[in-house]
Symmetry: D2
Subunit: 337 residues, 4 copies
C-alpha cells in the first residue's frame, strides 16, 4: 500500500509518497481504506516545524479522516465490512477526564496519521460515521467536530435559553454554529466580510455581523444579546481574545480553540475580571464525545460544511488553501491512492 510521509524532516518538500507493507490486522483490529481526510492548522504547524510538542520523522501526517472498513478481525464486534468509520484522534482517550496516559498517542504526530491508503487500528480506536454523510463531510468530525462538542457540552453546558457568539468560518466555527443551533441556542456569527452571510445563516446563525463593516462589533454583539452573549467560541487567539471577552455577559464563558491570529493571546485582566469570565481551552475530546456528536449529527441531520475538496495529487494546494484562510468549513483531500 501507499502513504504520504515526512521522510527526514518537516517541510513541504519532505512529504513524499512512499510504499509501505500492507497492514496485518490482529484479532480485534479493523482495516480502513481511507476515503477522505481533512487538514488542520496543527498539520500546518507540524509541516513548518512550529508545533508545540515533539514529533519526529518518519511520520504519516494528518489527524482527521474517514475510511471504509475493508477487513475486520475475528473478535471485532463494533464494526462490519462496508461501514464508514473515523479513527479517533486520541486513540487512548475513551472516556473520563484527560490524563497524560490518554494522550500518549495522537494521530498525525507523534503517531502516524491518516494520509495513507490503508489504516489498521483497534476497533476501539474508531467510531462509526453518521449514516447520512458522505466521506468528505464525515472527515470533518474527528478533530474539529469532537473538540467543539467537548467544549460546548462537556466543559460547558450550552442551554436553549442562551446566546452564543461564534467567530470565523473555519471548521470549528461552522460545526459550532450547527451544534449550538441543534441545542436550541441563539447564534450570533461574526466574520470578516459579508461573503458568507447567507451560508452562515443556512448553517443556523440567527444573526451575522461582519468585522469589516463593524469595527465596534463587540459592543454591537453585546447590544444584540441583552448585555453580552453567554458563550463565545474564538478560533483565532492573539489580539482577538480580549474583544471576544468584551462581547460576553458577566459570568460568560469563552472557548479558545485555535491560534490562527497568534500563538500568544493577550488577556486584559481588567476586562476579564470586569466580565467575570471563564476561559476554556480544550485538547480534543474522547471517544464518548465522538459518539455523542454522531448521535446529535444524525438526529438533526447536520451536514458539516466542506469548503473545497482536493484530489490527492493537489495535496499541497490543499495545505496552501488552508494557510491562506478565508474558507468556510473544512478543507478536504480525497485520497485515491
Amino acid at each position: 500500500m501507499r502513504a504520504y510521509q515526512f521522510e527526514d524532516d518537516f517541510a513541504p518538500e519532505s512529504l513524499r509518497l512512499v510504499e509501505r507493507p500492507d497492514p496485518i490486522p490482529g484479532e480485534r483490529d479493523i482495516v480502513l481504506r481511507m476515503r477522505a481526510v481533512a487538514v488542520n492548522y496543527r498539520d500546518l504547524a507540524i509541516m513548518r516545524g512550529e508545533y508545540h510538542t515533539r514529533v519526529s520523522p518518519p511520520l504519516v501526517p494528518l489527524s482527521d479522516g474517514v475510511g471504509e472498513v475493508v477487513h475486520v478481525g475475528p473478535a471485532v464486534t463494533r464494526f462490519r465490512v462496508g461501514d464508514l468509520a473515523c479513527p479517533t484522534y486520541l486513540p487512548l482517550w475513551i472516556d473520563g477526564p484527560l490524563t497524560l496516559d490518554r494522550i500518549a498517542r495522537r494521530l498525525g504526530g507523534p503517531d502516524d496519521g491518516v494520509l495513507t491508503e490503508l489504516m489498521r487500528l483497534s476497533e476501539h480506536e474508531a467510531v462509526r460515521a453518521p449514516d447520512h454523510l458522505d466521506p468528505a463531510e464525515a472527515a470533518t468530525l474527528p478533530v474539529s467536530g469532537v473538540t467543539t462538542w467537548h467544549s460546548l457540552f462537556e466543559l460547558d453546558r450550552l442551554r436553549p435559553d442562551e446566546t452564543i457568539l461564534v467567530q470565523g468560518s473555519g471548521g470549528v466555527s461552522t460545526i459550532a454554529i450547527q451544534l449550538a443551533a441543534a441545542a436550541g441556542a441563539r447564534v450570533i456569527a461574526v466574520t470578516r466580510t459579508n461573503r458568507y452571510t447567507d451560508r452562515l445563516r443556512d448553517l443556523g446563525a440567527d444573526h451575522v455581523l461582519t468585522t469589516d463593516s463593524s469595527p465596534d462589533w463587540p459592543s454591537r454583539v453585546a447590544a444584540h444579546s441583552g448585555g453580552g452573549v453567554d458563550v463565545a467560541v474564538n478560533t483565532a487567539g492573539g489580539p482577538t481574545l480580549t474583544p471576544t471577552i468584551a462581547a460576553t455577559r458577566m459570568g460568560g464563558r469563552v472557548h479558545l480553540v485555535g491560534y490562527a491570529a497568534g500563538r500568544r493571546a493577550e488577556l486584559d485582566v481588567f476586562t476579564a475580571i470586569q466580565h467575570a469570565t471563564t476561559i476554556h481551552l480544550a485538547r480534543g475530546g474522547n471517544r464518548t464525545d465522538f459518539e455523542s456528536l454522531v448521535k446529535t449529527v444524525e438526529h438533526h441531520r447536520i451536514r458539516p460544511a466542506v469548503d473545497r475538496t482536493f484530489p490527492l495529487d493537489q495535496l499541497h494546494d490543499a495545505f496552501d488553501h488552508l494557510a491562506h484562510g478565508g474558507h468556510l468549513g473544512k478543507v478536504i483531500i480525497t485520497p485515491t491512492f
Copy 2:
C-alpha cells in the same frame, strides 16, 4: 372588583364569588386585569383539604395565570400598560437556590392567588409573557412551565445527544416534550391510549408508546433508546416510579414532578441501585428560570398545549375536568368577571 375565594373552609361549595376593594398600587407596583388562569392538581388538593402544608381561608385560589397590565406605579421600569404579564408563583424567589425565606409566599395558598378580576403586585413579582402567545397559552407557564424548566435545565442539564422519556399528557408532560425537543434531545412519549399519538408527535415527540398496548413499556423504551433513556419525567408518582427507573439507563436521572397516581411513591431500592439513579423533586422554579423559559419559548415559537378553556361560570367543570384526567395540556379558565 370581584374575586373567587374560599370563605370558611376548603370545599367546592365554599368557593364563592365575592366583592373586594379595588387594589391600591404602590410606587413599584403593577395592577393586572386577569385574562386567563390554569388549574393544577395542587388546587384540587387544596380544595379537598388534602394539601400538605397549612393554608387557611379566606383564600383566593389558583397559582397559574396571566393578566394585562392596566396600571403601573411611577417607579416601575419592568412593565408598561398593555403588557401581558404572569405573576410568579413564588414571588420572593428571584434567583439562587431555594430557601425557606424564599417560599414564605406562594400564590394560591397560603397567599391569595390569581382567580381575581384585578391583581396588585410588585413589578418584581411578574414576568412578561412571550409575545406570540394568547392568554390561555401564557397562563400555562408559571407553574408547569417554570417547574419543568427548572427540572430539566437547572437541576439537570439535558443535552442534544440525550433521549428523554416523558410520561403522561398533562401540562408538565406537554411542555416537557416541547422544551426537550427545543433543546435538541430525542423524545419518547408514553401515554395510556393512542388517543393523543399524533398530537404528542406534533409537540415534538419522536416516538410515542402506549401503556395499554405495551404493558412491558419500560423494556420497550429501554430497547428503543439503546439500553435506557438518559432522563425521565414522571408526573404520577405512586406505583409508577419504579417502572420509570427501569426504563432509564445506568446513571439516568428521573424527575418526579407530581403525584396523580399516589402521594406515596414506592421506590424499589434494588432497581434504583442497579440503575444508579438520581431522582429530582422540584418545588417550582424562580423568576430567572421563568425568564429563561420565556426566551426559549419565544426563540422556538413554542405554543403550549391547552386542552380546554372554560368560562368563569363553569369554574367547577374545569376542576372536574382536571380531576377526571385524560387531558392533553392544561385546563384553562378565562376569567371574565
Copy 3:
C-alpha cells in the same frame, strides 16, 4: 490453593472450602495472597438467595478484600511484589460514567470474589492500599469506601461550609463521617443508642443524636443545622427515607446507599417536593474514585473503623454478626487458609 465457594446453590451450608488449581498469571497480571476480607449486606443477600440480579454457583463469594502482591507478570508496571493491593469490585469500570459494559463483571457475584487464598487479576483491576493501614482496615475500602467517595464527591460535591447527616454506624456510615470531616464539613451522626457516641465523635462527628432518646430526631437535626442539613447519608432505606428527607434543608441531597431496613423505600412525595430533594443511589464507584479515596485517606491519615475481626474458621459467625446489626464499622475475616 484453597477457596470458599458456593457449590450447588446459595445457602450457608453450601459455602464450602474447596481445593482449586493455583492461578497462572499472564503478562500484565498480578497474584494476591489475600490478607483480609470484609462482609457486606450484598453478601448476605446472595447467600440467602435474595439478591436482585442473577448469580449462579459455583461462586467464590465476597467483594471486599486486600492481599499482598506475591507475583507480578513481566509487563506489570503498577505494582511490585510485597505491595498491599485491593481488587476493585467492578474491575471493568476504570473511569467515566457507569455503563452496562462496565458492570459486566462484579466480584463476589456473578464473578468469583475474594474469599480465596490466592487471587489472580490484571494489574488494572487493583489499587494500591494506603500505606498506613493494616490489612483489616484496607479491606473496608473497595465497596463501602469507594461507594461513599463516589456518592459524596462525584455524584455530589460536599463543601466545607456544609453540614452532613450520617445515619447508622456500619461501614458506609463510619467512612462517610471520616471523609466528610476530612472535607471540612460539619457532621451530625444519628444512631439508635448512645453506645457509640464517643467512637463516632472520635471518627469526626461534631454532634451525635440517638433515635432511642429522640424519636423526633429529624426536627432536632433540622434545628441543629439551621433549618436542615445540606446532605444526608441513609444506609437503611425502607420506612427511614422520608424522615431523612425531613431532616434536610430545602434543596438538600440524600444518598440512599443501602436497604438494611427494607428493600422498598417509601417516598412521601409531598415531603420530598416540600424539601425540593434530590436522591442519589450509587452502584459502587470506579477505579479513579478508589485512587482519589486512597489519596484522601493517606493525606488525612484516616483509619477506617473495624468492628470485629473473625478468623477464617468462624466465617459463619462473621455473617451472623453482620446480620445481627449494631456494629460500628466493618466486619472483617482474616483468611489464613
Copy 4:
C-alpha cells in the same frame, strides 16, 4: 462624623479628612462604627487614577472593613447592637449569578466606601463577622476572603483528594491556603523568598517552594504533585500566567485573581491547550458566599493573616506598604477617628 474622601480628583494628596453629617438610618438600616479596614490593590489603582471602570470624586475609599453595630432600625432582624459586622463589597449581589444590575453598587468606588467613622447601610448589605475574630482579622474578609471562596467553591469545586498551588503571600493567597486546607486539599505554596516558609506552613501549606531558589518551579511543582496540580491560584497576572499553567495537570483549573505583575497577562495558547486548562476570573462574591465563608472560618477556627496594622494617621504608610509588596496577609488600618 468624620470620613476620608477624595475631594476633587484621585491622588494621594486629594484624600482628606472631612466632616460629614451623621447618618440617619431608615427602618431596615443599621449603623456601623468602623473598627478596622483593609487596603487592596484596587484601592491603589483608584488612588492612582488607573482603575478600569469609571469612578468620580468625591469618594470615600476602601471596600474592606468591619464595624460594630451601634444602631438598628426598628424593622431590622439580622443584627443587634454590639454585633461585629462587615459591609458586603457588592451590596446588591445577594445570591445567584452576577449580573450588571448586581454590580451597580460597589463600595469604595463608585459608591462611598468604608474609610469613615460611621456607616449606614441596609441590614441586607452586611454579614455578621465570625465570633472568634478580632476586628483586624474580620476586615480581611469582604473582598479577599469572599472572592477566594467564590473562586474555589462556587466557580470551582476543590475536593479533598486534590492538590492546589497557591502563589504569593498576600491577602488572597493566605486565605486561599487556609480555606483549601480546611477543605482537606493538599496545598503547595510558592513565594519569592524563604522569609515566610514557616508562616505559610502554619497557615496550612503542606509544602513551600521559593522561586528565588527554584527558577524551574513549575516543573518542580508538577513533579511534586504527580504530574501537575489540580488547581492553581495566581494573584499576579502579567508574565506569570503561563508558568502557572505549566504547573497544572491536564484539565487543571487556574484562578487568576489579581494583576500585581501586570494588567496584561500573556497566555501561551499552545501551553494552555496542551494542559487543557480552564481559567477563571472572579469579580468578588455574593452575600451567600460570604455567609458560607463565615461558617467555614468559624467551624475551622481560621484566623486570617494580618501583615501589619496601621493607625489612621499613618494611612498613607499603609498604602505604601501594600504598594511595596512582600507582605504576608492583609494590610490593615484601625480607623480611630
